[in-house]
Amino acid sequence: MISGAEIMVKCLQKENVSIVFGYPGAVICPFFDYLYQTDIKAVLVRQEQNAAHSASGYARALSKVGVCVATSGPGALNMITGIATAYMDSIPLVCITGQVKSDVLGRDVFQEADITGACESFVKHSYLVKDTADLPRVFKEAFHIASTGRPGPVLIDVPVDVQQAEIEEFVYPEKVNIIGYKPSVKGHPMQIKRAVEMIAEAKRPVICAGGGVLTSGAKPKLREFVEKTGIPVLSTMMGIGVMPSDDPLYVGMLGSHGLKAANLTIHNSDLVILCGARVGDRAVASPDQVVEHANVIHIDIDPAEIGKNMKTSIPIVGDIKNVLGHLIKETDYKAPAEWVDKITKWKEEFAPKPQFFDGFVDPKSFISKLSEMLRPKAVMVADVGQNQIWCANNYRIRDGRFLTSGGMGTMGYSVPAAVGAKLARPNRDVVAVCGDGSFQMCLNELATIAQENLNVKIIVMRNTVLGMVHELQDIHYGSRYSITELDTIPDFVKLARSYGIDSAFASSNEEAEKYTKEMLKSDKPFVLVCNVHPNTSSK
């Protein structure tokens, strides 16, 4: 005989899960108890939201499904923001929650919450398991759904009695059979042919690459396509890293917080090739204006994204890797030199400018400098707020990853995501950059970092305000700083040290660089606090 809890753990083993991020509670105890007896590592986060963020950082750094586990009621509810964050950025997660006994479901017992109902609109799929015998199929399907097609979080809610009940034997299904779920990955040959013809006609083409390129593992293919055709590349925030920042054909991030050169490029183009980008409002504020002068080829694995926000001339549903492979084979196009030259001029003319204040670190030039100091495959995790924009526009990425909460803009993402990324990639530099606002939303994870002795470097841009909104108040609200001033900021250096984590305070770029050099030499975690002037702008 075998219990539901044991089956759950065995399913994780079958899926080659080696690590889960979680927080315990009464009704998930059977699962954690069995997990304890295996070699799957369980990382205790300090709040359930961070379990999902850590699993997300892990999943993105390793291109593998991340697993997070919480108990019923408040545990599951805390995790929601993390699940929704993963959903918006198409991150493959399997989220497991304990649930109260199935015979009292719906009676509002202690720590009961309808988590499958609450998460309906931001999970790719969810299960409330009522029968122990269903567990193997549910887990098999959950991992399959989370990781294929357009990835996303899948929730499995398991009542405690289902974990405790026993069945005869454990058989893990070899295959999944979900009749309504067959993502198309190949790309229609006819559409690809039309795309090749349309590209051939283009005078001012541009590629707009989103997170889908990275999800699909299409980065090498994209680089090959760009090399062959010479078509310039813009990226969305989620797409940062598709091209090395110093590539002459890479323009930068577009959008309301992006580089002017990138926005000029898309608005002057006559062909936009969207690759795994969903044309979010932050990336293209007015898609209608773009389609007035440009044709659009949209490549995405999710048909619902094509035509949702931007009118498309040629839709291609499929895995970008495959589609680009065909395009590379079939095109012999070369982008006109005058178009590329024009963009290069814009890039030079509108490059981000540093802002130096005495006694403060200029975050823009520091981030740029930091990129050179990190090893090429480093994982950079930016939080949300001005720090995110500073990083997006100034981090010179090479062959590493840039992780951030792009779609949801969830403050407090960076530190827990860095925890996950470090556990996924122990041999790479992992740096989290956050503001003093976002850091205070996730600094409880310093305890996780200390407990796991993770070599995560945290850089806190301490500007004593909630900078993004503060800046918005300057522009739109007559500089009335309604609740954006952080009057009481703890001494972050002392705070970090109280967790046994070394820390330093920098008041100039020279100091910041000096401490960075030191912290990168050590294999211990470090919190570098940078004093940033509150008037430093995002761009």
């Binding site: 409330l128 979900i178 619902a304």
Partner: protein, 162 residues
């Protein structure tokens, strides 16, 4: 414009909430939703009548297709399908009006399924247009209650072989 969609779904608990949740979060306006098991007991059919332009209906189709237990989505072209709705209409009916209402029922091919001292209840299964004609005819007598199933539709054989 009104569109009629036929959605085949796995017959599992929770599927209806996944589909109906979609309408509110994507701000789709639907007129009616009728669900029932098909000839295959593992599969249910939802017939949805939705209001919107081509963009909205295309989005609705695509978003429905993303729901994992949704097997197939079809938007029926005008004239390619038969649609019916079952309604029960309770109308005020003192003894001296009975004959009038019976005549209307006969004319419209509605069935009288309940009679009381002051009311008469009609069962009617037909198109939306005919339903509106019937209710117009009954209004002067005082309609007390109407219960409608929502439209169900089936594709004409000639259309499905196109």
């Amino acid at each position: 414009m009104k569109y009629t969609l036929s959605v085949l779904v796995e017959n599992h608990p929770g599927v209806l909430s996944k589909v109906s949740g979609l309408f509110s979060r994507r701000a789709f306006n639907i007129d009616s939703l009728a669900v029932g098991i098909t000839e295959d007991p593992g599969i249910s059919r939802m017939t949805i009548v939705a209001d919107g332009d081509e963009y909205v209906i295309e989005q609705l189709e695509k978003q429905l297709n993303k729901v994992i237990p949704v097997i197939k989505v079809r938007t029926y072209a005008q004239g390619d399908f038969i649609s019916r709705e079952l309604s029960l209409i309770k109308v005020s009916c003192p003894a001296n009006k009975r004959l009038d209402i019976m005549k209307i029922a006969e004319l419209m091919e509605a069935k009288i399924v309940d009679v009381s001292v002051n009311t008469m209840t009609l069962q009617f299964a037909d198109t939306l247009e005919r339903f509106e004609t019937l209710t117009d005819l009954l209004k002067p007598y005082g309609i007390r209650e109407i219960v409608r199933t929502g439209t169900v539709a089936i594709e004409k054989d000639s259309a499905s072989r196109k």
